[in-house]
């Protein structure tokens, strides 16, 4: 499964190239995640994503119980330019469930 890809992946950016026009997962700094269709990218990992779902995860401390409250805020954006320096991880869509 992975072996047929290995021949095409000679450097890490090839993994991104193979994901063009596919929906990808992007993990960004400050607990942000994006899922969207990769339209374009460059060597800095600047990216143009389409039909993007952004998930922002925040952790708050409850004033009374001091419990951590994890909140996920979602929003959708038709088109997004992502500056590369915020990118931590990029993953192509999962082919196996």
């Amino acid at each position: 499964m992975a072996s047929e890809e290995e021949s095409a992946v000679k450097e890490p950016l090839d993994l991104i190239r193979l994901s063009l026009d596919e929906r990808i997962y992007v993990k960004l700094r400050s607990d942000r995640e994006l899922r969207g269709k990769l339209h374009a990218y460059d060597q800095h990992l600047n990216m143009i994503l389409g039909d993007v779902e952004e998930i922002v995860t925040t952790v708050e401390i409850d004033d009374e119980t001091y419990e951590e409250i994890v909140r996920s805020t979602r929003r959708t954006v038709p088109f997004l330019f992502v500056r590369g320096d915020g990118v931590i991880l990029v993953s192509p869509p999962l082919r196996t469930a």
């Binding site: 890809e5 992946v9 450097e11 890490p12 090839d14 320096d85 931590i88 993953s91």
Partner: protein, 95 residues
Amino acid sequence: MSGAGAVAGEKGSSTTKTPADFLKSIRGRPVVVKLNSGVDYRGILACLDGYMNIAMEQTEEYVNGQLKNKYGDAFIRGNNVLYISTSKRTLAEGA
């Protein structure tokens, strides 16, 4: 003094001379990649480049030692990398 440096260099893997040689030599091996944020990624190192951008397979994401996510393939942007370590531990067979 100069001799001591050479000995220290030979102590590691027999083929490794420079950090770049080490990185070349560990392609295809199971590795642990730690990021500056403290998050660990365990998986098979597919390849890497001069920026220390990393492509990994069968990647597992560990936050505070807990498995948080799995990725079939993962690209990690090099600037986030704290270290890359080879691991003998085989991947947990979750799938």
